[in-house]
């Protein structure tokens, strides 16, 4: 039905945000919700988030994927949160769990939000956090390959057929418009 021509890039450098409950006010503060374009949000991603060894000015520009903990994206429904990621070239977030609205907003934008179990996350953080790490995403085979120097780890993932279709369609507007 869809050839995936609108599919986004899900590979690149990984930014580890090793904390639970990162909320959408932290991802993009409300004062920037007065912008009427996604692009205008770019400089403000994670601006107020306080975390040791995290400097948004340096860490975001170099990253194309985020690995984080549980309940990522809780709070406000603002789609400005995934947009702020998207306009910074970050289309992939891997977490132990997501808040419902944020997760849906990601797929609705054709972006990838993938849950992986805590044990695997613990291992990834232990092995890779703090190093320059990349993730290569094989979307059709559902495999992430994390790599840093000589270390490499392949992590299989699972998403529903419906979520997969949204990614192929490039988001919910394209999907819904062709069906309803």
């Amino acid at each position: 039905m869809y050839l995936g021509k609108d599919m986004k890039n899900f590979s690149g450098n990984v930014l580890f945000l090793d904390r639970d409950d990162i909320n959408t006010d932290e991802i993009i503060p409300a004062k920037y919700l007065t912008e009427n374009t996604k692009e205008a949000l770019a400089p403000y991603l994670l601006e107020d988030m306080e975390m040791e060894e995290f400097d948004p000015a340096i860490d975001i520009a170099a990253s194309q994927a985020i690995v984080t903990r549980s309940n990522f994206g809780c709070g406000s429904s603002r789609e400005h949160a995934p947009w702020a990621l998207e306009v910074n070239g970050i289309n992939l977030v891997i977490a132990e769990s997501f808040a419902r609205i944020f997760r849906q907003n990601m797929y609705n934008c054709g972006m990838l939000a993938v849950e992986i179990d805590k044990a695997t996350l613990d291992r990834l953080v232990t092995r890779f956090a703090g190093l320059g790490t990349t993730v290569e995403t094989d979307f059709e085979s559902s495999l992430f390959t994390f790599a840093s120097g000589d270390i490499e780890e392949v992590v299989p993932f699972s998403i529903s057929g419906y979520d997969r279709e949204l990614i192929h369609a490039g988001g919910w507007v394209n999907y819904a418009d062709s069906r309803y």
């Binding site: 409950d21 909320n23 006010d25 932290e26 503060p29 409300a30 004062k31 919700l33 007065t34 912008e35 009427n36 374009t37 996604k38 107020d48 306080e50 549980s70 309940n71 809780c74 709070g75 406000s76 429904s77 603002r78 789609e79 995934p82 769990s97 808040a99 419902r100 609205i101 944020f102 849906q104 907003n105 609705n108 934008c109 529903s160 057929g161 419906y162 279709e165 988001g171 919910w172 507007v173 819904a176 418009d177 069906r179 309803y180």
Partner: protein, 428 residues
């Protein structure tokens, strides 16, 4: 096997089952405000699909920053206003007639038992108080809702919270929901509908039920939901009197929606509130809930009474009863924002506005404003606010500010004392 109220609503609105437990459902109402809607409108225009599925099912308000505070917020209002006009959306509320969406739309009778409602606003769960499935969504879901009148959700799993016990004097629905969130955690209801049942809920008026459902999202819930009953019918009667022969037949119709006795729940939590004392929060997460007495003496810079959680007339009456004959501490500034013009008018007629002003409160027009740090009471770095709002996130009311969530009674007492304190000190 019986069904929950949320399952019944989903089954009655099913459009498609594209895969697994995903249901595409028909929407009875799509609510829009000026922060999350303009980008959807712009995208529809860009796609050449500047249409609406049904102008009478779309309700529009400018509420988050009202009046506009700068050119950017003026543009957001302009986009929404022009869009509502060109699509003949009759229920559009501009300044003067506008109010905080989750207080205004119930007041207008736009939510009915059994309805499906979405809005680009996480506190849309408030409307579940009427026995509706009401969910906050992002702008893309809103865009498809506007265009097609549908939205996709997982078939609902429900967490039932049974609340029993008579609330002590000075303890309110806000204290109950803070206690619930403190018990189950910010992730405690994730991905599930939160059904509030039990004798305590049955005793609550619609304002109190809205306060409960409003904060379901702070525990990760998709929608709050209460069983429609006599209280619901009484509230809605002016809007439904031409639809039903009498209140009894309206009640009979609504009660066919309520959860069956043998419905299956994902989880049931039982809470006894008989001994509950007033609650507040500390830190930056809404589940970090403590007894007010634990925070007794914590100085505050600002007190804020308002928002979709606690800006209704019942809340203003409660706060005014505490404030009457008192003045606020010289160490604090205090703001009250009645949530709608109707509430403002009622507060004027009942003499509440005079009580607030005599006490030293600033009375502002209805707007979401300060609750999310956009206008009308933003905090400076290092400042502390006692607020009747719903989120104490870091930076929520202004970068570097700290928020303590509480009931209107506790907030009023705190304004008088200049530090967090229990309202019982100021009431008989």
């Amino acid at each position: 096997m019986g069904k929950t109220i949320a399952e019944k609503i989903f089954d009655a609105h099913k459009v498609d089952n594209p895969s697994g437990d995903i249901r595409v459902i028909q929407l009875d109402a799509v609510f829009c405000h000026e922060i999350t809607t303009p980008i959807a409108i712009n995208d529809l225009v860009k796609r050449g699909k500047d249409r609406v599925f049904d102008p009478d099912k779309i309700k529009v308000v400018i509420d988050h920053v009202s009046p506009a505070k700068d050119s950017k917020t003026a543009v957001q209002g302009k986009i929404l206003r022009e869009w509502a006009r060109r699509h003949n959306i009759r229920d559009f509320f501009d300044i003067g007639r506008n109010g905080v969406c989750h207080a205004l739309f119930p007041e207008k009778g736009f939510v009915r038992p059994g309805y499906t409602v979405i809005m680009g606003d996480s506190h849309t769960c408030t409307h579940g108080a009427f026995g509706a499935f009401a969910a906050g969504v992002g702008t893309t879901d809103l865009e498809v809702g506007i265009l097609k009148g549908v939205c996709a959700f997982h078939y609902p799993k429900t967490m039932r919270i049974d609340i029993r016990g008579t609330l002590q004097q000075g303890v309110y629905a806000k204290d109950v929901i803070l206690f619930v969130i403190g018990t189950i955690g910010v992730n405690g209801a994730a991905g599930r509908v939160v059904e509030f049942t039990g004798p305590t809920v049955k005793q609550m008026n619609m304002a109190a039920r809205m306060t409960l459902c409003n904060m379901a999202i702070e525990a990760g819930g998709t929608s709050g939901i209460c069983h429609p009953d006599e209280t619901t019918v009484k509230y809605l009667w002016p809007f439904i009197k031409n639809t039903y022969a009498d209140k009894a037949s309206a009640l009979a119709s609504f009660q066919s929606l309520i959860s069956d006795p043998d419905a299956s729940y994902d989880q049931v939590v039982e809470i006894d509130v008989s001994d509950l004392t007033p609650r507040t929060t500390r830190g930056f997460k809404p589940d970090n809930v403590v007894a007010v007495e634990k925070m007794e003496g914590q100085a505050v810079d600002q007190v804020y009474i308002g928002s979709c959680t606690n800006g209704r007339i019942e809340d203003l009456r409660t706060a005014a009863a505490v404030l009457k004959g008192n003045t606020i501490s010289e160490k604090v500034r205090a703001i009250v924002s009645p949530a709608t013009p109707h509430i403002f008018q009622q507060a004027l007629d009942e003499g509440l506005i005079k009580i607030f002003m005599d006490a030293g409160f600033c009375v502002t027009n209805p707007t979401c404003g300060a609750c999310l740090g956009m206008s009308n009471g933003v905090l400076a770095e290092g400042e502390i606010c006692a607020a009747t709002t719903n989120r104490n996130f870091n930076g929520r009311m202004g970068k570097g500010g700290m928020i303590h969530l509480m009931s209107p009674a506790t907030a009023a007492a705190t304004a008088i004392a200049g530090h967090i304190t229990n309202s019982s000190l100021f009431t008989n």
